[in-house]
């Protein structure tokens, strides 16, 4: 493949990365036009009603009502979904929307577009297109959509035997903005070709459920916070939140209860020591700061030599936190020397061994003749 193609593929990825991460109110006019175009391109009559929901959770609840799974839905969510449907002129009863047309609207045009590109570019060319345009978005977007599915399932299925129904309702969704990875691979088809309708919805809205007579569309998130690895991550509020209040809390990708984050700003060394869940305690320690914890918990240095100081904090039911305190040899502009702490494996027994480990060399071999 030529360099020119490679650059264009990276542009495709960049363009659709913005779509995948978009937050804020949907462009409802553009989304509805895209939906009608997608139906027309699939040879279907336009849907009679387009119903807007405040989140994938609210949309899934509406879908469950329309597929006759409402008897075990949490009452408040069922009533709210029924109200949303009625307000849009749709009876909240089983069969009220007709059959799913996801296959005709999304899956078949996608399969044909992929086949055409596969024929045009050849197997290696298609693989290259996927690798450069789609793959960079695939993993993080898939992780995000799976977290949303899990959050919706936990909220809507009070018992385990109901989870399958929720999962099936979620599988009927077209993922809107979160279809960005595969739309990036077929960008040309998504600009003016057979996937133009689907792509227009992706640019304008969140997840949507196409049925013969009715379409349910979800708003995009109002909050989306991720760390550099693309994992949901926020310490002072929901990492993902939708306008109707559906929200997910996470720290470095690890789901945490909302109440857990609220107490992070009031942590004390005692509270951290008392936390029995090792993963939550790790989050607490990281949020509190190891350095501050060392100082305020009265931790004692276990070893000291010319390379630095070794500290050790014992934790019940978890490996101890062992850290080396290292002093930068070059003074700061104000004449002080910056001190920093690095966590090392718990087996480390001396400061030199710890510092040597951070550079991957043996303690005996670690003897810098000059340090700045």
């Amino acid at each position: 493949m030529s360099g020119g193609h490679a650059l264009a593929d990276e542009d495709r990825a960049a363009r659709w990365r913005t779509v995948a991460a978009a937050t804020g109110p949907a462009d409802r006019e553009a989304a509805e036009a895209g939906i009608r175009r997608a139906y027309a391109q699939a040879g279907l009559a336009a849907p009679e009603r387009i119903v807007w929901a405040g989140s994938p959770l609210a949309a899934t609840a509406a879908v469950l009502l329309l597929t006759g799974k409402e008897e075990w839905l949490p009452r408040e969510l069922a009533e709210r979904a029924a109200g949303t449907l009625r307000a849009a002129g749709v009876e909240p009863v089983a069969g009220g929307a007709g059959a799913s047309v996801r296959e005709a609207v999304r899956t078949q045009p996608w399969a044909r577009a992929r086949q055409r590109l596969h024929d045009d570019l050849g197997p290696a060319g298609w693989a290259g297109r996927w690798a450069l345009a789609a793959a960079p978005l695939w993993e993080v977007t898939r992780a995000l959509t799976e977290r949303v599915r899990t959050g919706v399932t936990e909220a809507l299925a009070p018992a385990r035997d109901q989870e399958t129904a929720v999962r099936l309702a979620l599988l009927d969704a077209v993922l809107g903005q979160h279809d960005a990875p595969w739309l990036a691979a077929v960008t040309d088809e998504a600009e003016s070709g057979p996937l133009a309708g689907v792509a227009a919805v992706a640019r304008a809205a969140g997840w949507w459920w196409p049925y013969e007579r009715v379409v349910i569309v979800a708003e995009r998130p109002v909050e989306l916070h991720r760390d550099e690895a693309g994992r949901l991550d926020r310490g002072d509020g929901p990492a993902l939140a939708f306008p109707d209040g559906f929200a997910l809390y996470a720290w470095r990708g690890m789901p945490v209860p909302a109440a857990f984050l609220e107490q992070l700003d009031e942590l004390t060394p005692e509270r951290i020591r008392e936390e029995e869940n090792a993963e939550l305690r790790r989050v607490m320690l990281e949020h509190y700061g190891y350095e501050r914890y060392l100082q305020e918990s009265g931790a004692q240095p276990v070893h000291r030599d010319e390379t630095g100081v070794l500290w050790r904090i014992a934790l019940d039911g978890d490996e101890p936190v062992v850290m080396v305190e290292v002093v930068n040899s070059t003074p700061e502009p104000d004449g002080t020397h910056r001190t920093y702490w690095l966590r090392v494996p718990p087996r480390v027994r001396t400061a030199r061994e710890g510092v040597a480990w951070t550079f991957g060399v043996d303690a005996d071999a670690y003897h810098p003749e000059r340090e700045t």
């Binding site: 070059t330 690095l342 550079f359 000059r370 700045t372």
Partner: protein, 108 residues
């Protein structure tokens, strides 16, 4: 061996280099003509060598870098004092930190 902040520069005898080191891909110089040993992702500050020499790097995220200074050189950084290096080959090691179940690189 020499340490500048979070980078350790370890002399290696030419005959002790791993086979194929010579053939490893050469790292390009940056916009200021320097060989960048390590770049601080947050500050943009760099541990870098000015002057003649080559920097090669094993492929992969944990690939090791080797620095060749046929006439010697100096490693500089925005916040650390420069260190003069005698001529020869060096292994360049970036400081790392332990996290339970993983290891991550330190950003200076």
């Amino acid at each position: 061996m020499y340490r500048q902040g979070d980078v350790l520069i370890v002399p290696v005898a030419a005959e002790a280099l791993p086979p194929g080191t010579d053939a490893l891909p050469r790292q390009p110089r940056d916009g200021r003509g320097r060989l960048v040993l390590a770049l601080g992702e947050v500050t943009g500050h760099a541990h870098a060598v000015v002057g003649p020499g080559t920097l090669v790097r094993e492929p992969g995220p944990f690939g090791v870098s080797y620095l060749h200074l046929p006439d010697g050189g100096r490693v500089v950084h925005e916040e650390h004092a420069a260190i003069p290096l005698p001529k020869g080959w060096y292994r360049v090691v970036r400081q790392r930190e332990y996290t339970p179940g993983a290891v991550r690189v330190v950003a200076d």
